[in-house]
């Protein structure tokens, strides 16, 4: 009797495990591609908003960023008006429990054009609102990638979200310096 119960328990456990695996795999097959495209669509929308009238973008991360460097993606945004191309760096940074995913747009000569927050998680309250209210994003516009201002901001950043934004922009500046260095070398 007890053996029967044990067998039944094992059978039901494995049955539910198999079902859970089947549902998860099925979900991956059904929605996996769309889930990835959803992320891409959000990035495209952010890039379009950051560099208006562009003629598309190209992922150049592998050309400049080592594979072991996590949380940095670089994009070359092609000018749609015959002007110079610009760059975007998508960087993720964490500070005091707050994680920020930011898109920093640079002009061809490495001056920050804008910083947009793609997501702000963790911490207390709505991260995007907190960052917007702090006004920290307005400090970066027009600042060259090698400016000390960005480092100074990391000292004065009030909260975890602000600090994560500054770290994120610093990472973006580090990434763009590699692009500009390679360009200077090739010239």
């Amino acid at each position: 009797m007890e053996t029967n119960n044990t067998a039944k328990s094992l059978l039901s456990g494995f049955l539910c495990l198999a079902l859970a695996l089947a549902v998860s795999l099925g979900a991956g097959i059904l929605f996996g591609d769309k889930a990835k495209k959803g992320t891409d669509a959000e990035l495209t929308a952010a890039i379009n908003a950051a560099a208006e009238g562009n003629a598309g973008y190209e992922d150049i991360t592998d050309d400049y960023i080592p594979q072991n460097e996590k949380g940095v993606s670089l994009y070359l945004i092609k000018s749609g008006t015959g002007g110079k191309d610009v760059y975007c760096a998508r960087t993720t940074a964490k500070s005091r429990g707050c994680t920020v995913d930011a898109l920093t747009t640079f002009s061809a000569d490495g001056v920050i054009m804008s910083v947009r927050i793609l997501s702000a998680k963790g911490g207390n309250g709505n991260g995007a609102d907190i960052i917007e209210k702090s006004g920290i994003l307005s400090h970066f516009g027009g600042v060259p990638y090698d400016s000390d201002v960005i480092t100074v901001n990391s000292v004065t950043a009030a909260g975890g979200f602000d600090d994560a934004v500054v770290i994120s922009v610093n990472k973006a500046c580090g990434a763009i310096s590699k692009v500009l260095y390679v360009e200077e070398e090739s010239e």
Binding site: S12, L19, A20
Partner: protein, 202 residues
Amino acid sequence: MRKRSLSDIAADGLLYKNPLLIRMLGLSTAVFASTAAKNALAMGLCALAVLMLSAVTLSVLRGVITDASRKWCVLFTVCGYTTLVHLFVRAFFHGADAALGIYLPLIAVSGLCFTHGSAIASRVSPVPALLDALFVGLGYLAAMTVAAVIRELFGMGSFFGIRIFNGGVAFLATPAGGFILFGILAAAVTYFSGKRRDSDEL
């Protein structure tokens, strides 16, 4: 288990045994998601979907589920459906996925689904299990949305993301403010429902 009428199931799920305000299930997730009404709505709908899907499955399998394996069966089933819902949200509502972050997949280990699966869904036939899951989920969704509207309106001065006034009581947007608000709402619901909290009786 005694048979309950539809009105009993509805009243229990929505009010007398409200999972969030009376039985305090899934409270940590609710405190995080209720900083904005849109997030609360998204989280509530996801929890509702997982609850209903796992309730039907566990109910259909109740003949083979034993007392010894019940916890594992509930956990596996809820995990499977949470993955399904998470990927669905990520595919079609990426903004909601980004806003809810880790709290969305955490539905898998939420006391809400686990308790319902163990105590109700894996013990009754599919229709009552589904109805119970529906009203428990709606009770959770309603309580969280009400709390979120209060927190968003008085904490940040907006209503479903639309700015109504500047400023607000920032404390309401913090986890401590959220817990206190849930405490006040729980006290109000307990008082007005006129029934004592009894989380053991299901």
